[in-house]
Point group: C2
Chain length 193, copies 2
């Protein structure tokens, strides 16, 4: 069991409806020392990859991405979830729609910050149905850049997002993959990696 | 002139309407090495302060806050700007309204993560009219905690937010204070600190 799986068992809370709450250390309060360990681990898992930029999505991906970026020595770009007046000029826009949740979102990045020479590591806190991630991949592809890898903190292995991304041939590394959870007992089962 | 002022002169773009675009290094693409320098500088400026938590607000404050937090060795909490289904239980809510812009926002933090024993450093990327910051201060006060200081990357010195916060007696440190900008010439004048 790795450091993140241990932390999830210690401080994660399983709720009805396959909800895993990790807001005490990952996505509301943020343990930056843990993020530092995650950054080291991403660096190890993507060793040898030619990465010159990290792309994430607001809001809870930003902290993990920025701390990880220190280990890679590269800048971070964060995608916005809806059109913002703070972005002018041309933008890459990915329309993403959740098959199960019926929600539509736009993922937006200024064209200034992703281009054909970029070798991008995508980072996010959660991967479940994979909508946000599909939007980020679309944006790198629109820009003519290369997705060198995808680093996720927690993947919900019982949802389809991770499998789809792996089927597509991307190098996806999830630091913890939850295969099942039980809200009554609080038990969490991780996939052996 | 300090490292951030130099960077603003190099890569910041002045637009009509007193808009300063710093999206190539601060709030869309993020230079984490610069954030690291900013974190060191905040640590120096708030030396001797008993800080056990950093509070920021989504989205563009999160990266700066997380990298700075490594220097302070404390966790970060980020406030959300509107009610999110990912937060359950009781929340601190600050209703903030811009006097000039007539916009209303809610700043929201779970009660679990700020309490009466917390000595909080507030961090954000921009300070202009100060609405977001007023909301963060309100939340620390609601929680019975202590605002030990406020660290801002760029303050628009020609707007009232910074003066109001200093009038209230808070220890506010802005790494760069822009006193005036000229969209025609691109000139930026910083306040001597």
């Amino acid at each position: 069991m790795n450091f993140l799986e241990e932390r999830i068992l210690k401080d994660g809370i399983v709720k009805e409806g396959n909800v895993l709450k990790v807001d005490s250390f990952l996505n509301h309060q943020m343990d930056v020392e843990l993020f530092n360990q995650m950054g080291e681990e991403f660096k190890r898992r993507f060793k040898g990859r030619n990465i010159n930029k990290i792309l994430t999505i607001e809001a809870s991906g930003i902290g993990i991405a920025c701390v990880a970026a220190i280990h890679f020595g590269v800048p971070v770009v964060f995608a916005k979830k809806s059109k913002s007046i703070n972005i002018d000029g041309d933008m890459y826009i990915a329309d993403v729609e959740s098959f199960t949740h019926k929600c539509k979102n736009q993922v937006i990045v200024s064209k200034k910050f992703i281009g054909e020479n970029d070798h991008v590591l995508l980072i996010d806190d959660f991967l479940a149905n994979g909508c946000a991630l599909q939007g980020l991949i679309s944006i790198v592809n629109q820009a003519g850049g290369t997705v060198e890898g995808i680093g996720i903190a927690i993947e919900k292995g019982f949802q389809s997002g991770g499998q789809i991304i792996r089927n597509l041939g991307y190098h996806l590394e999830s630091l913890a993959i939850v295969d099942s959870m039980n809200a009554e007992t609080g038990e969490i089962e991780f996939r052996k990696q």
